[in-house]
Amino acid sequence: MKRYDLIIVGAGPSGLSAGIEAAKKGLKVVVFDENAKPGGQLFKQIHKFFGSKEHKAKIRGFRIGEELLQEANDAGVEVVLNATVTGMYQDKEIIVRISDEMHHYKGDAIIIATGASENMVTFPGWTLPGVIGAGAAQTMMNLHGVKPGNKILMLGSGNVGLVVSFQLMQCGCDVVALVDAAPKVGGYGVHAAKVARTGVPFYLSHTIVKAEGEDHVTGVTIAEVDEKFQFIPGTEKHFDVDTICLAVGLSPMSQLLKMAGCVMEDNPKKGGQVPICDEYGETSIPGVFVAGDVSGIEEASSAMIEGRIAGVAAAKYLGYMDETELKGKVTELEHALESLRQGMFAPKNRGKAIEETEEGIAISKNLLKHGFVADDEIERFPGVTHKAGIHPVMECTQNIPCNPCQDACPKHCIKIGEKITSLPAVDESVDCIGCGMCVASCSGQAIFLVDETYEEGYATVTLPYEFLPLPEKGEKGTALDRSGKEVCEAEIVDIKTSKAFDKTNLLTMKVPADMVMKARFYKRA
């Protein structure tokens, strides 16, 4: 039987990363993936990632996928696609379906990096065509170029629900509401804010009463729920929609590990059933490792680092490096992983009610309840300052592990500091040149350039814009505030596109001076 040093199941961010590290140390590595394209979910992620520069921040997910794949090819990792691992047996043997044959392979080490599957919720009508998973929506629109629907209701305000809502709008769908049974937005505030400002209403403490339709979805009714998640009579709201999108969390896809006999645990903090493993990802079966979501639900950025750790650990297991080298490599990676696991959304903080930022500033209640920071809350954050002339306004209000803006400014007027989760602050002693690099670098689309003294009675707001068609210079439309409410007329005075902005266009709109701290989005007439 054909034997590899290392077999990796899953060519997503963690699997590819593991393969790269192991192959660099000289292991003969193969990666199997059931999909036609590698990259796991990365190729469906068209937004810019968070994190630090060293770990692919501000790069769009699918580009990270391309980079990883290139790196894997360069390292000599064999990636086999359309290859479904159907079973894992004793002696680290796997069976892989490749076209119409079952191939048996053994690995001296195996890394399982199968990722996650979507959770679902039930409501009357949840089986109707038109009720789909958020992952299905991403697959349809970002891989296959087909709109998942025209009028869509999103259930779930975690990062997936927020990001997919935005993506749906980017491909031309109308998102009529974003609904979550929880009393507050689950995902990053900045993801919520960029959805809210386009006019999508957020219904927290609401959930779906029923999906309507005979042969497919034609409408949906939602209602408010009390603390015990029971419907409050009389609060029903109806929407005409053709699609309901469910984004209610992920569970580790750990079936292969269970099948192989790894000792498992049910760990709600990790999203479900995961193998018990050590700090290197090694399971109860020596030589079988895990990395990425299959070992606990996190972000793709963490998955890539976990993959690298498992990759070097497999190399050590097979004698390709010694304990000292392993320790050295892993310490560095763990440091990076640790930095990603900081902040308000860290795994350790799941379920905790956080009232203040690390800086001691009260969290925006409105952001949690409605998806946007209220006018009377925004001024208290360090990224929001005022001065004559053009300058950045950074509406970054939660501690998340992300710092590309700091490096983006050629004048170094943005400071985050050593701690990657700190809120960005403006160094007011440095003059902004209005280049817009910070606006385009912000994965959360939370940075604006404002010029409060643009001309008599008027100010300009420069905002990130990732929709088609692009407005034209001189065109007049409407400015929307953070809540998506129309607040004033706006005229486009400048549009910047640049390779360096990576598809994020910078629109500069002229608005009445008193609207400069309100107007945050542009709607074409």
């Binding site: 054909k2 379906r97 079952m102 009357p124 292969l256 049910d266 709600p268």
Partner: protein, 109 residues
Amino acid sequence: MNSINDRSRYIGEFVPAADDDMLICRCEEITKGEIRKAVHDGMFTLTEIRRYLRTGMGLCQGQTCAKLVKGIVARELGVSPAELEPVTSRAPMRPTEMKVLGKEVKEEE
């Protein structure tokens, strides 16, 4: 896991609920009410529920409903879902035609 489970312990009476006709297992079309009733018939483990009702035994092998079933059974038994051992995973991970499964290849080095 092998923890003592007294099957005669009192878990309350089966009380019909408004959403008992909610479909839970999409493949085998098993409802919430059927699952709740099965718990009261003595099916205290997810494995027994699966064998008794066929939840998770359809084409998708429980990839969609496993967590939902777990929640329902846990609530009915008055335990936390994490206390319930998930059902065993079985090969093949995806439905595989007999002619394909029967065609094995063992490449040489």
